[in-house]
Symmetry: C2
DNA sequence: GATGAAACCGTTGACGC
DNA sequence: GCGTCAACGGTTTCATC
C-alpha cells in the first residue's frame, strides 16, 4: 500500500508517457521488466493509477475557446449543492470543476467551439438554474500549462 | 486532416480509456480492427492524439492539497510575461496555468502535500519575483470534476 | 527479486474489394 | 476508403528458482 522510490519513478514516467515499452521503462527505473510488470499491475489494481487516457488536441477537433467561470450559488439549501454537482458531471463542456473557498463556490473550466456555443452553454446551464446566484466569466487567452501530472518526490 | 464520425468515436473512447483492446474499440466504433489501427496511427502521427498518459491518484501519493491561485503581474515589460511562463513550466507543483482576461493575468492550479509545502511554494515562486504584483489564493475543498476530456460531437 | 515459457494483443504490410 | 489474412514483436501471466 505504501509506495517506494521505484513505484514513484514508474508513476513519474507513465504520467508523461503511458505507451513507453516496459523494457525502456525498466531501464529508467533500474529494475527488471518482470518486476516493473508486477508493480504496474499492483499500481493499477490499487487505483494508484486511476486511469490511462488519450489526451486529444483541442485545436484539432475544433475546440477553439476555453473559459474560466466562477459560480456563486444560493445558500438556502444544501441540497442545491449536490444537484449542481450532478449537473456539472453530466455536462461535457465543463471539463473541470473545483469547489473552492472564497467569494465563489465553484471554479469551472469550460471548453467550446466558439463564442456562440458558450452563449448556449451559459443559457442552458446557468439561466435555467435557480441555484445559481451569480457567475463571472474569464476568457482564456492561452492554455499556458495543461495536464494532470502530479509533483512526485522522485529522489 | 479532417476527422469523420469514426475518428471522433475513436477519440471519444480513448479519452476515457486508452488501454481498451483494439477489438473492443472496433466493436464500439463499428469498423474492422485493421481500419481502427490505421486511423489510430494517423491520429497519433497528426498529433490529434497529443499524448497517452497515466492519471495518478493524488491521495495515493500523498498530495492532499489543491489551490487555485490568481496572479497579477507588473505591466512594465512584456519580457516579464515569457519569464514568468518559463518559470511556471519548470515548477511541477503548478499543475495547470491559464492566461486569462479580467482582473488577474494568470490562474494557476497548484498541488502540494500540505499547507507547509504551499507556504514554501509561495515563498519560492512569488516572493522572490518582482514581476508578481499581487496573488490571491483559494483553497480547493473538492476536486468535483477533473480531467482533460474534450466535448466531442459524436453523433 | 530474476528467469523463461506460453498465451495474448498490437502492429505492419500485402492482398482484394 | 474498407476488410481479411499472415507474420512479427511486444505485453502479460504463470510457474519456478
Amino acid at each position: 500500500m505504501t509506495l517506494d522510490q521505484h513505484d514513484l519513478r514508474i508513476l513519474s514516467v507513465l504520467q508523461t508517457n503511458a505507451r513507453i515499452p516496459i523494457e525502456r521503462l525498466s531501464e529508467q527505473v533500474g529494475l527488471s521488466t518482470a518486476s516493473v510488470q508486477r508493480r504496474l499491475k499492483r499500481l493499477r489494481q490499487q487505483q494508484t493509477i486511476a486511469a490511462e487516457v488519450a489526451v486529444v488536441s483541442p485545436k484539432r477537433v475544433g475546440l477553439a475557446m476555453t473559459f474560466m467561470v466562477s459560480v456563486e450559488l444560493e445558500r438556502d439549501e444544501l441540497r442545491f449543492l449536490s444537484e449542481f454537482k450532478a449537473k456539472i458531471k453530466n455536462e461535457p463542456r465543463i471539463q473541470q470543476c473545483y469547489y473552492v473557498t472564497g467569494d465563489a463556490d465553484f471554479m469551472l473550466i469550460v471548453m467550446t467551439r466558439d463564442m456562440e456555443e458558450f452563449n448556449s452553454f451559459v443559457q442552458e446551464v446557468f439561466y435555467g438554474d435557480k441555484n445559481v446566484r451569480r457567475y463571472k466569466t474569464s476568457v482564456v487567452m492561452e492554455r499556458t500549462k495543461v495536464g494532470l501530472e502530479l509533483p512526485l518526490p522522485t529522489g
